[in-house]
Every structure is written in C-alpha cells, then in structure tokens.
Assembly symmetry: C2
Homo-oligomer: 490 residues x 2
C-alpha cells in the first residue's frame, strides 16, 4: 500500500483518497516572469512522477498545476513591484506578452523533460471573479478587514480564535510576531503578520480589475486556495510544491481555506526539496546558477559537455524528492553512464534466450519495484532495484540464469511500465535521431573494417576510394594511433 510523507504531520501515512478511485492533486506552478529555474524543474519532475505512479496504480487523477501571472510581488511582505509587471516594464512589453513568452518556454522545457501536462492548468488572471468571491467570503466570516482599498487577512484574530497558524511550516507564532519589524504609522496593516488578499492598484499599475474595494489585483496566496478548491473541491487529497513555499505561501493557504470554508482543504501536503550546484545554493547574484536549456546546450561554465534532458531527468530521480540534490559535472557524467547502461539492458530484452522454465520470479520483481514506490515514491530505491534487474538480464544473456518466453514477456512489460510509464524516461525507439545515428555508426564501422582489410592487402586504390567517396558525402575518416575514427559534417 502506498504511503506518503505528509508535511503537515511530519509522518509517512497510508494514502487513502477521499473519494476513490478519484484523486485530486494540486501543485503550485511557476510565476512566469522568467525562464524556469532548474530547482523548479526538479519540483515539477518530482510531482510528474507522483502523477504517473498514481495513474499506474489505476487512480483517476485530476492534477491541477497553476500558472501565476499576477499578484506575485517581489517580496513576501506584500510590498514591491509585481514580478510580471516589472519584467514587462523592463522589456517594454504588455504584461501578458511576458506571461505568454515564459509560459511557452516553460511548456517547452517540461516537454523536453517528458513531463506530462497537468489535467488543468489554470491561471491567476483567469480566476479574478472567483478570487473576489473568496475575499468576500473571508470578509463576511470576519477573518479579514479592508484598509485603504486593500483587504488583509487578520492573522492575530485567527490565532486568538484558537487556529494553529504555523502548523504546516512549524513556525512558532510568538517568534513570528517578534521577528517581524514593527509597523510605522503609515501601514495599512493592523499587524505585520497580516497578509494581502486583495491589493489596491496604484494609478500606474497596468494589471488591475474592478472589485467591491476599488480597482486592484489579488494577493499571491489567494489564487492557489481559489483554484485548488474550484477544481478539486473544498477537501482534496494532495497539495504539493517546493519546500520554499511552505511559509508563508502554504501556511496562508491553510488559513484562507479555514477562514472561507471552515476546513484545511488539503489532506496530504507534499514538499519537494532544493537543488544545489557544486555544493552551493543556486543564486543569480553570486552567478552560481544554471538553467535547464543551458544544460541541454552545454553553454554554461560548470559542465564539461551538454547533457540530454533524459539524462538530467534520470539524474534527478536518482535522489528522493525530499532530499536535497547537488548537481555537478561528475554526478551528471555518472548518471549518463547509468542511464545508458539501463537502456542497453532494456534493448537486450527482445533478443534474450528463453528456456522451458525460469530461474527468476517476475512477480517478486514486481513486488520489489512497487515496494520502492509505495514507500513515499522512493525513486532512488526503485532505480537501484532496476539495476539489480539489469544484472539479471546480463545473467540470462550469459546463460547463468534462465527465463521462459512467457516470463520474458511479463518481465519486459514490468520493466517498461516502471522505466517509461512511472519514471517517465523515454524509450530508445522514440529517439529517432539517435537511432539513425546508431545505424550510421554501424554502417561506417563496416566500411572502416573493409578499408582496413584493403590496407592490409595493400589495395591502396580501394582504401582511398572508400575514404574519398565518404568525404564527398561529408563523412571524414581519420586514421589515428587508436584506429580509424570519423566526423560527420553538417
């Protein structure tokens, strides 16, 4: 049975959907004001595997991942410019042009990572009516107040009424209150801990909508409470996001849902951990930062070569989603080797010799794979099990182990299910380009072999002829001390 680590309780718990076989899952998506960050890509890849495994278990999953296209301010204290608006100002574009540009870029990157699109991908600007409605509900229930055209959540009142603000993030309320700087007389907030549900738009603010409190825009935390409950109901199964969103974003979501609907809304909170680069926190200001496309293209100062998106995916899944993961050239090189070794073994499956009976127990392998994933989606353990299976494949090939043709088919299906459907790695046959490169390599090895024979026979005319004919087609043979290699001209 599947167990999931619930950030709210700090424990692994058996997963019991509210309304089986349906599962509702909400994951906080990107704020589309810039290229998607590698750390965010890891988070979305982690939840892609959660989505895939739940589907593999035959749950009917509705997976909602939002696009934040308004309301995310530069700092968490409800101050500073809107991230999208600022970028629009810098690039001299309409904010929605920024949104489109980086949404398209985000989708392209996730497609290269072979991440499935979510079932619904709602945007904050697409749910202004619903957000105004939820602000109204919270106001009506007495947990918020209007101040100068903005509406704030009254955290102190919420706590004084006995609500456990801090229960998700584990923050101590007293510390929170003493830790925030005192408000000057100008503040619209009653208390520094209060957070915006609706912000008044200044006259130069482009992104604005009419509301009962005047023209403004929704607070960042609000959109996720609104869109998750709109599409998944007032109580749903899983809410995920990056670890950095636990506070204040997710803590505020819990408070908002309680204030509006009287429930936490979420049964299981899941948080994916952070990525470091060469042992240090990624940060633009220090230059210790790397984008997915810089890894695919090889254009970066950190890595010795480009890495294929599937290698990066495989690399990330070699760590558990709740562990931090350090990216480095050595680690990626090792992952690439492993990825190739795994696929090489899978490629052998169809040609394995079969016997009348099997020395291997396919059901047992299925149980081992399931046990790994059922333990809070433990992909590193699953991958270790898969490499044990690779050893078994080699043993069958060399005759040290035996498999019946029936079992071989089941083994093949089982491995394909876990490698392709659950881990979301791409089967070799879909990589057409690589495939024809492999065939080209094979054909060229035959030609190099023939030419070597001609040279051994001192048939220089033939040897030169082979070289010249290939050269004409843009394939250059080069004789070195380690034998003959080739380069392909484009």
């Amino acid at each position: 049975m599947l167990h999931i680590f619930n950030s709210l309780t700090g424990k692994k718990e058996p997963f019991e959907p509210i309304n089986p076989p349906f599962v509702g899952m909400y994951v906080c998506g990107p704020t589309v004001y810039n290229h998607v960050h590698l750390g965010n890509a890891r988070t979305f890849m982690s939840f892609d595997v959660v989505f895939r495994y739940l589907r593999y278990l035959d749950f009917k999953v509705r997976y909602v991942r939002n696009i934040t296209d308004v309301g995310h301010l530069e700092n968490d204290a409800d101050e500073g410019e809107d991230k999208i608006s600022k970028r629009a100002r810098i690039e001299q574009l309409e904010p929605m042009e920024i949104v489109q540009q980086y949404t398209v870029g985000f989708h392209n990157i996730m497609a290269q990572f072979n991440a499935l699109p979510p079932s619904i991908e709602p945007s904050a600007t697409g749910h202004i009516v619903e957000q105004i409605q939820m602000v109204q509900d919270i106001l009506n229930n007495g947990w918020a107040y209007e101040s100068n055209g903005s509406v704030y959540f009254d955290v102190k009142k919420y706590i004084d009424a006995g609500h456990d603000y801090g229960k998700l993030s584990g923050r101590n309320v007293d510390e929170l209150f003493s830790g925030t700087r005192a408000l000057d007389g100008q503040s619209e907030k009653r208390n520094p801990m209060d957070f915006a549900l609706w912000k008044k738009a200044s006259s130069e603010h482009i992104m604005r909508w009419p509301s009962p409190w005047g023209d403004g825009f929704p607070g960042w935390h609000l959109e996720c409470s609104v869109m998750s409950t709109k599409y998944l109901g007032d109580a749903f199964d899983i809410h995920g996001g990056g670890m950095d969103l636990k506070f204040p974003h997710h803590e505020c979501e819990v408070a908002q849902c309680n204030a509006a609907h009287g429930t936490d809304a979420v049964n299981v909170w899941m948080h994916a951990n952070m990525l470091t680069l060469n042992g240090k926190r990624m940060s633009k200001s220090t230059g210790n930062t790397l984008l997915p496309q810089e890894i695919f293209s090889g254009e970066n100062p950190f890595l010795s070569k480009p890495y294929h998106p599937m290698v990066l995916r495989f690399f990330m899944l070699q760590a558990h989603y709740r562990s931090t993961l350090d990216i480095s050239d050595a680690a990626l090189l090792a992952a690439e080797k492993g990825y190739n070794r795994l696929h090489e073994a899978l490629g052998m499956l169809s040609d394995l010799p079969t016997s009348a009976s099997s020395t291997i127990d396919v059901d047992h392998w299925g149980e081992r794979f399931a046990a790994a994933m059922n333990d809070d989606f433990n992909t590193p353990v699953l991958i270790a099990e898969l490499f044990d299976a690779v050893k078994e494949i080699h043993r069958i090939k060399s005759g040290e182990a035996a498999i019946s043709s029936d079992d071989l088919q089941r083994f093949d299906t089982l491995l394909a299910d876990y490698v392709y459907s659950v881990l979301g790695l791409q089967p070799q046959s879909e990589k057409n380009s690589n495939d024809s490169l492999e065939k080209l390599d094979a054909a060229l090895q035959v030609l190099i072999h023939l030419r070597n024979q001609a040279r051994a026979d001192k048939n220089w005319a033939l040897s030169d002829d082979i070289r010249d004919q290939l050269m004409e087609k843009g394939i250059v043979l080069k004789d070195g001390k380690d034998g003959t290699t080739y380069t392909i001209q484009s």
Copy 2:
C-alpha cells in the same frame, strides 16, 4: 509597399498602421473542444505568415490569438449546449480538463507546423470581469436589454439608429430579418436577429459566474471584442479569422465595439478561405474529413503515405490564403517533390562556384520576392519566384550563369529570409534526424557500390560478408531487378 485585401471594403488597400512601427493583430483562435480541424490549421498558418512577414518588414507586431473555452454554443442562434460542456459531459471530465487536453494538442500541432506562438493567447474564461464590464457598457449605452437573466444585443434598434449591420458580411438586413424564423411567445429575444451578450446559466450548467444579471456565462461573440480591445486598444490594425466567421461572429463584433466604444475597432479585416478534401467540403457526418495528425502519421483512408508537417505547410502556402484549396494525394505528392527540390537547391548554395563578377542581380530578386508578398501576402507567387531562383542556382552550378562571392552571400541570406523567416519552412540543418538519415543513405550507397564490385569480381565471400555485417546491425540489403535497396529495422 504592402497592400492588404480588406474584407470590409472588398479592396486591396495600402497598409498604414495606426501607430507605426507598432501593429496590432487579432485572430480568432480555436474552440478547444476537439482536435484542431485541418481547415482551422490552414487559417492559423495563413496568419502565421502574415505575422512573420510583418515582422520581416520590421513592424513591432503584437499578435493576439484567443482560446475559446466557454460560450461557444452548438448553433449560432444562442441555443444548444456549450461545446466544451457537452464534450466534458460525454468524456466525463471537468470542462477545464477538456480545455487543457485540446489546448495542449492544438499547441503541439501548431509547433509541428512551425507556426510561431502568438504574442498573447488570452482565454474567454480568463476575461469574465472584462466581459461583464463590456456588457454593462453596451447596456448603459442603450444597445442591449436584459431578459430573464440573459442580456441580448438589440440589433433592430442598432439598425434603426442608422448603423450598417451587415456591412462586413455583405448580408442584406431585410433578408436577414425575413430569413430567420419567427419567435414563439416563449423567446427571451425581442427579435430573432438579436444575439446574446450574456446567457443565464441553467441550474445544471457547470461553467457559470456571478454577474449583475445573475449566474451565467458570456456570449461567444463578446469575448473577441473584449480581448482584442483590451490588448490592442479601441482601434487596432488587423482582425483575422476564417471565412466562416464573417457572419455572424465578426459582424457581431463590429456591432458590439460600436455599441460599447463608438468605433469599429478594426481597420483591416482579413479572412482566410476554406479547405476541401478531394473536391468536397470536409464534414464529419459524411466521413470526408482529415486531421493534421492523421496526415503526419499516414493513418487515414485518403492518402497513399504519411506527409511531413513541412510538406503540408508548403502545400498550403502554394495557394493564396483567400483562395479555396483542395487537398488530395496527388497534390501532396507534387508538393513534396517541390519542397525537396527547393531544399536541394538551397543546400547547393554554399558549394556554388563564384566568379569575379555576377550575371545575376540580387537586388532584383529581392524586389521580386517583396512584390509578391506586398501583394496581399501572395505566397504562391513568391513560391513561383523562388523556383525561378532555383533554376538560377542550377545555372550557376553548371556555369551558365555567374555570381560573385559577395553576391552569393547576399543571395543566400535573401533566400533564407524568405524561405525560413517569412514562409516559416524549416531549414534542413534543423532536421537532425533527416540529416543523419541522409548520411546513413550515403554510407550505405558506398557499401552497396563496393558489394556490387565484389560481385562483379565474383568475390562472393566479400559480398556476403558486407550483407551479413549490415544484417547484424539491423540493416537489410535486398537485391532486386532495379538494383540493391535496403530497409532499416528499428
């Protein structure tokens, strides 16, 4: 100077942007309740070329193409089920899951066609606030009335006040009035010609939003007026769409904008023509229908083989966007030949012999290409000119014509600009997979040649060796009466 055929005036007119170098262009996008139709794909491809050519002319284009995700009812008389809701009911999904599924599919198809994403891709559900506001404006200005929780545009009042309803579509108003069936006493409309700005949602209707007139959803025509003017201003340059949208959709847009803002909003109306299949109208009910992905995969009863998206794009651009176009196997085969011939010639450019002086006038070629596109985006004439240029390339190669190295570079740039940037065909070098297939073919031809020599020398051992070594790698040689061919096993 660029001239565009304006559907409103029925004339080709010089294109003068309202606020150069900026150009605002709005195109009606898909209703995402099903796979994108081939005819729609043609429309979007036509406007992709318009977008590309305007950019090539150094205009700063803001290209808005919407996603219709609510309000498009099954018939144009404001009756019947919402297309998205109906599909959701049939597939037992949330309407927004339908929207997501077919939006992702649409984007994938357009990416395969190498169509650029628009600058902004707004959705109808994402602009409920703005739509309610425009309904309110039209009501306030006296051109609409509320009836039983719905709001209708008062076409008769609009006409009686002297507005030319029908000026875009050329419909005769008297005929329109007499042609529509009389209303029974139950109708909410004052007149059958009136159209919905806002529809009351029945109790079982899932897609609904609160409004001053009760819970409901926006009328289909409204969204385009709202989103075009929101992102492009109350007067903008170009509005495009399929010919079938002229009436009632675009005619209603004109009326709405006049009613709300007192202007037509649009300077130039452009309409793309329809696609037929084997000479007949495409229609699901008769089975005479074909989807883009069925053409790419070859899985359809109409065509002899799969066709690459670029061949289909090239085929479509061989017709003018205002002409009907018939798709058939013979026409696609011919397009494929032409596409290959064009690319073959472009591939020769870098290896052409150069001379001290030129017999060709590159500037003159540039003028010919521009003249074609400036004549209402006449892509078939441009393609004919490009094939004349292909002949010139062959003449240079054979020594019948001469080009200086300077001119060759300019010629190369000019051709690449029109073929890749303007027509949006994909350069060969980006087709890695095809490229390695070509190299593979070259290497195999060398091997087949060597094997033929071995057979002529009665060296059967070598001949068999070559065949067997290739077979081992999944490359099968086959000797037939027309020589040796090969097949590649995956």
